[in-house]
Each structure stands twice: as C-alpha cells, then as structure tokens.
C-alpha cells in the first residue's frame, strides 16, 4: 500500500481511539468509534482478495449496527436524564443497550458470530490490529459507564468463555482459533467488570501481550493452518520452542503470566460469593487449553528427532524484526512473580 495512505489510515485509527479515550460526551465517543471503524476498513481489504473483501463487509455491517445501537442508547439516555455525559448513566434501559452494543462491537457471545469469519479473511497483521487495538476503545467505554446489570454481564461473560472454548475445538485454521481465543478471554474480562474494573484492564493488557506474541510467532513462520506450523522447527527453532509456553500461558497455566488474570478474577468472584460461577469459568478454560495444546503438539512437541528425508522449505535469511516478539514473549512467560506490583499499579 502507498506509504502515505498507510500513514493516514494508521493515524486515523489512533485518532479514533484517542477521541474515544478523551471524550466525556456520548456523541464524541460514538464519533471516535466510527472513525476507528472506517479507518481500518481499507487496511482490511487492501489485498482485494474476495475473502478479504467479504470479511471487510461483515466487519463494517456489524460495527455499524453496534455504533447505531450505541447512538440510540445515548439518545435515549439524553432523553431520560437530559444530559450527554458518559459517566452519569443511571437508568437501566440505556445502560443495558450500551452494554449490548459494546458487546457486539468487541465480539462477546452470543454476539460473536462475526468474529471468526472476519479474522479468517484477514492477514495476520491486520488480524492482530483487530484483536488488540480495536478492543481498546469499547473497553474504555465499558469501564467508564459502570454497568450495573449483573445478570447480563455474567451471562455475556460465561457464554463467551464457553463459546470460545467449544467453538475453537473443531478448527484447524489458526486465525479462527485466535478468534475463539479472543472471545474466551473477553468473556473473562467481562465477568469481573462490575466487581473490580481494574482487573478487566489487567486482563485486557495481559491478553494483548500474549496475543501479540502468538500472532507475530505465526507471522514469522508465515503459517495460517496448524499443518503448516509443523515445519516451523526447521525455520525458527527457538521461536518454535517458545510457542508452547505462549500457548500454555494463554491457557492460563501457572507459573506463566497468563495465570495471573485468571487467579485474580477467580479470587474476586469468590469474594463476591460467586464460587460456582468461578468454578464453571475455570473449567471452561480447560476447553480452550485443549486446542492450544493441540497447536503446541503440532508445532514443537512432535519434532522429528532424526533428519527428515522429505523436501523442506527453503530457509532464506530473514530480516524480520523480532525484538517486539522477544519482549512480549518474555513478558508472557515470566511476569507472574510481579503480580503484587502489577495489582498495586492498577489500583492506584
């Protein structure tokens, strides 16, 4: 893509999210979300492949619906309360509508159906932007409006963790697996939103770090299916040996840092006397762990110990910049002992 156009689009995406961050008026927040959506659309269909165009259209339609619902909710709030401020939403109808609209925007179950198909149509870098950056603005809004409809949030959260687990079990396309993993993690974030919003932010940031490592690892190997991962040990042996740890961290296994958000969320839920819900959510994480484990089996743990007799892909010298991958992988694996410091930082 023309570098000027790329610059404009990336700046516009940043601008959209920043406008939403900085806004306290509903119209400005909605405007930031729309700028964000419109800016990413050309990035998504830049390859002009029919599949990419299809993904772009699906994304546009769902995000436009969500934005329209958001606008209607804020107008309803303005009609009832007489003001447009984000933080003062005290009536249940607009709050519920906003929560559902934002759930559609980020892809929580049962409003998740667009997510796997859209991610599948994109290349890995744009998919990464979709999974990480695009979630920031809606979460900023969710954290500010303090939704008080407990049962809605718990249903959204639990359904997301279960759907994210079960949906990914039958996939062998990596981008769909990453989509279902995103749905599951978003479910965990929503579960604790009402009780301890800082944990939502912590889970979101940890998810960003872990997903970034995984997307970039897949991009380095230029692979989009589980089968094509099996040759990665010969191309990048060190990345291949680190990816099982990244995957197990995404699955929430101690002592990796992915355990930190799950542990803190379970602690908060048990404090709120929601122990059966906590157990259900914890067990649903096992479903996601199964397909993470399957990817790690294909990629690393079934390396052939002897020299192979079949044709291997060319191992050309790569000039990929792997420093961000190195940083985020280290954070994904080693951050658990810093849990007290991180929770202190987030509850400032």
């Amino acid at each position: 893509m023309n570098p000027y156009i790329l610059t404009i689009l990336l700046f516009a995406m940043g601008l959209g999210t920043t406008i939403t961050f900085a806004s306290s008026h509903w119209l400005l927040a909605w405007m930031g979300l729309e700028i964000n959506t419109l800016a990413i659309l050309p990035l998504m269909c830049q390859s002009h492949h029919p599949r990419a165009v299809e993904a772009t259209i699906k994304y546009f339609l769902t995000q436009a619906t969500a934005a329209a619902m958001l606008l209607f909710a804020s107008i309803t709030n303005a009609w009832i309360t007489g003001q447009w401020n984000l933080e003062f939403m005290s009536y249940s109808l607009p709050t519920t509508l906003v929560t559902v609209a934002l759930a559609l925007k980020i892809g929580l179950a049962p409003l998740h159906a667009w997510m796997p198909e859209v991610l599948q149509g994109l290349d890995l870098t744009t998919g990464l932007i979709l999974s990480t950056w695009q979630k920031l603005a809606p979460f900023c809004l969710l954290l500010q409006i303090n939704p008080s409809n407990t049962s809605l949030l718990l249903i959204l959260g639990l359904a997301s963790t279960l759907v994210g687990g079960w949906g990914g079990l039958n996939q062998n396309q990596l981008r769909k697996i990453l989509a279902y993993s995103s749905i599951a993690h978003l479910g965990w974030m929503i579960l604790v939103l009402q009780f301890f919003p800082s944990l939502t932010l912590l889970t979101l940031l940890m998810y960003f770090v872990m997903t970034f490592s995984l997307f970039i690892s897949f991009k380095v190997n230029n692979s989009t299916t589980i089968n094509s991962l099996s040759m990665s040990w010969s191309k990048t042996p060190i990345i291949s040996s680190m990816v099982p740890f990244i995957l197990l961290s995404l699955g929430g296994l101690p002592p990796l840092s992915g355990f930190m958000p799950k542990w803190l969320i379970l602690q908060e839920l048990t404090k709120q006397s929601l122990a059966p819900l906590a157990t259900l959510a914890a067990l649903s994480a096992l479903l996601s762990l199964y397909f993470y484990l399957r990817i790690s089996y294909a990629m690393t743990l079934t390396m052939s110990p002897n020299t192979l007799l079949n044709a291997l892909p060319w191992r050309l010298p790569s000039n990929q910049h792997t420093l961000p991958l190195a940083i985020t992988t280290s954070l994904t694996i080693c951050l658990l002992p810093l849990t007290p410091a991180i929770t202190a930082l987030l509850t400032l």
């Binding site: 296994l253 914890a282 079934t302």
Partner: protein
C-alpha cells in the same frame, strides 16, 4: 535451604554453558553435590515444629523426606537418561537436562511452601516440564494422548481446588500453614460445605491417583521416557499425598463421614489394579498399575487421619518412590536392549545378565513389601490403622497384600527365570552405569531399615 535452591537454579545456567564434552559429567557432579547437601535437611533437632528459612519456605519432618527424595532423584534421572539421549543433537540434550532441573526447582519450592497458594502454583508448575518430557521425548505415537490425559485429569481436579482455597482465604483471611491448625472452617451441614470438602481433596486424589480417576497414570508412565517415568513415579505422585496431608487439617470434622466412600474406593483400587497387574503384557504398564495399587493404600492411610495412618503413608511414599523408580530403571534396561516393553519378549534374563538379576530380585522383594524393608513398615502401619477403624478392611488389605506379592513374584519370575529365548542370547552386557543407578536406588532403601526415624514424620 537457599544453599540448595540457588545452586539448583544456577545448574540451569551450567547446562547451557558447559562445554558439550563435559556436559553430562558436570551436571551429574553438581546434582550429586546438591543431593548430598540436601541430606542435611533430615537432621531434625526436635521431633516437631518447623524450620524456617524465610517467610515463604520452610520444612518440617513431613516435607523433609520428600525434599531429600526429590534432590536425590535428579542425579539418578541424569544417569538413567544418558544412554537414550546420546544420539540427540546437542541443544536438545541441554533442553532435556534443563527440563529435569526446572522440575526439581519447582518440586523443591512446592514441598517447602508455607502457604497453600504457593503450593498450588508450584504443584501446577510441575505439570509443564513433565508434559514436555512425556510428549516430546516419549517413543510412541500414543504419547500425545498420554500428555493430554495427564494434563487434563490433573487440571480438572486442581481448578476446583483453587476456587476452594480462595473461598477459604476469603472467609478465614490466611492460607499459611501456621494458621491452618487453628482455623478450621465452621462446620454446618450445608451441601455447599460438602462440595467444598470435595473440591479441596479432588486434585490430590487425582494426582495420587485414586482408583476411579487413575486412567492418566498408566498412559503417562508408559509413554514417558525413563527420566519422566522415574520422576512421575517417585515424586509427582507424592505431591498428591503431601498435599492431602497438609489440607486434611482444615477439613475436619467433615472428613469423618465424607471420607468413607473414598477409603473404600482406594482399597478396592488396591485389589483391582493388583489383579490387572497379573494380566499385563507390557512391563512398564505392570509397574504403573503397581504404583496405583500402592498409592491406593497411601490414600486410605491418609484419609483415616490417625498418627499411624499418616506415618505409614509417609514411609510408604518414600519407600514406594525408591522402589518404583528402581523398577522403571530395570524395565528401561530391558527396553534399551530389545526396544520393546512386552514382557514375554525378554524372559529368562538371569542367564544372560546375572548381576542385573540381583537387582531385579531386590526390587521385586521391595515391591512386595518384604520385612524388614520400609515398604513393609509403611504397609503394616496403614493396615493396622485401617483395622482399627473397621475390622472388615482387613479382608481388602489382606487380599491386596497377597495380590501384590503374586504380581511382584510373577514379574520377577517371568523376566528372570525360565529358558531364555534364542533372540536374546546376544544381548549387550550390563553397563556399570546401570549397576550404579540401581545401587543408588536400593541402597537408601536398605539403609532406611536401620533408621526409619528419618522418614516417619512428626507423628510417631
């Protein structure tokens, strides 16, 4: 404590920076040094009470035998793995040794934890190196299935444990071992309290394993390479027993009624798995089921909650750890020569490998709990405490002892005695390394006859 933990952590560095020609000798020497230093943990000036190193790590007469067993096992695992890793590329050998060392570090941290959540995190942390050892270095296709069963059985049990610990923490405020004795959860007959009791114990029962949830163990033990089998049988199962002993304190008085079905299941498992052993064709599978059988007895001993029960359980855990690991090493000597685990393919070995037959004999005698070995001491104490609880358990435990003796003798006679088949006449003679390995397993067991006070915990 730190003089053992910090050298263990730095052994990871040594693994990656040693010159390759001296890698195995260096690591072996350092791990033996660490193991020797760890023997100082056995010296207990007083019979009860904790020895504090810092706020987060401590040891007492219950955890010190297990800590010493963990540290003792690392050099043994390294000796055992030397042969089958010799053809692998250099970096993979270093990775394998790093996995073994990191496993030891997690185990030391688990057994010396002073707080239940630290124990939980380290308990789960041991899963990852073990999973990688089983699925990457196992030899058959079934190892992937074995790794999945291993990980998911253990996690399905331990996630409810995490929630149960957090419930206890939110109502009692602390999960430190010191305060556990004075803070039992108030008993009321709510169904939720019974679920909480179950959640606390399920993880450890799956790990031990209890008979109904034991399916992961034959798979994992059989598919793992020798170091994986050794560490699984010797130490990782004991994590379950140790955790159960620690958490029993807060589970009173619900345990009086609720433990009934689990004691019966454990004893029934002793008989069932013993009977399965008599019909096994796979040598490692036989030893794996024998592990389930012995650990069923340990589980019953712990659930009885008497001093003799706990003491018997701890002694049996240590003795079984050494015995089972020795049996797996012996099975591995067969496997390295014939590349098959089928028992009938490697019969009559006394003719070809007479010195190894001595080790087979001693290990089989230890497995069937011959007096005066500590195996018998543990079993007798558990059987006695069960008899005290109810006379009828003697039928089950007596039958279990009989079946244990039968399959141990069966295994010995089938592998060592009888005519040797023609395809085995040209077997490679026993290496000194293998003799050393077995001597190092069985010598502590023999020495424990003389001073069992080291391993009988704080109750007797």
């Amino acid at each position: 404590m730190l003089k053992i933990l910090i050298p263990s952590m730095f052994m990871l560095l040594t693994t990656w920076t040693s010159p390759f020609k001296q890698l195995w000798s260096t690591i072996l020497m350092y791990s033996f040094l660490v193991a020797t230093l760890s023997l100082t943990w056995l010296a207990m000036p007083t019979d009860t009470g904790w020895f504090y190193i810092n706020n987060y790590m401590a040891y007492d007469p219950l955890s010190s035998p297990l800590l010493v067993l963990t540290c003792w096992l690392l050099p043994l695992m390294i000796i055992a793995s030397q042969n089958h890793l010799a053809e692998e590329p250099e970096n993979r050998q270093r990775t394998y040794i790093s996995l073994l060392i990191s496993l030891q570090i997690f185990l030391i941290l688990a057994f010396s934890a002073t707080e239940m959540i630290m124990f939980y995190v380290m308990f789960e942390a041991t899963l990852i190196p073990t999973l990688i050892i089983i699925t990457r270095w196992g030899n058959q296709m079934e190892r992937l299935n074995a790794g999945t069963y291993f990980l998911f059985y253990t996690l399905a049990g331990s996630l409810p444990l995490l929630v149960a610990l957090l419930i206890y923490h939110s109502s009692m405020g602390s999960l430190s071992y010191l305060s556990l004795t004075s803070l039992p959860l108030t008993c009321s007959n709510l169904y939720a309290n019974k679920l909480w009791w179950m959640a606390c114990l399920l993880a450890f029962l799956v790990k031990m394993p209890l008979y109904g949830v034991h399916l992961w163990l034959p798979k994992a033990h059989v598919e793992a390479p020798i170091a994986g089998s050794m560490v699984l049988a010797a130490v990782l199962l004991k994590l379950g027993g140790y955790g159960m002993m620690r958490i029993m304190i807060i589970l009173d008085p619900l345990t009086k009624e609720l433990s009934y079905p689990f004691i019966i299941l454990a004893l029934w498992g002793v008989i069932m798995t013993g009977s399965i052993c008599l019909r096994q064709t796979d040598l490692k599978s036989l030893i794996a089921y024998s592990s389930v059988s012995h650990m069923g007895l340990v589980a019953a001993g712990i659930l009885i909650q008497t001093p003799w029960g706990f003491t018997g359980a701890l002694i049996l855990m240590i003795a079984h750890g050494l015995t089972s690991s020795a049996l797996f090493c012996l099975a591995n000597t067969n496997y390295e020569r014939t590349h098959s685990r089928t028992i009938i393919l490697a019969r009559g070995l006394q003719m070809v490998l007479p010195l190894m037959a001595t080790w087979w004999f001693l290990a089989s005698l230890a497995n069937l709990a011959l007096p005066p070995l500590p195996n018998l001491m543990g079993e007798i104490m558990i059987i006695t405490s069960l008899f005290n609880w109810s006379f009828y358990t003697l039928i089950l435990t007596g039958l279990g002892t009989l079946i244990t003796a039968s399959y141990s003798l069966y295994m010995f006679l089938l592998t060592q005695r009888g005519p040797i088949p023609h395809h085995l006449i040209l077997l490679e003679p026993s290496h000194t390394r293998e003799h050393l390995l077995l001597a190092l397993h069985l010598l502590p067991l023999l020495l424990l006859i003389a001073k069992p006070e080291l391993v009988w915990g704080w109750t007797a």
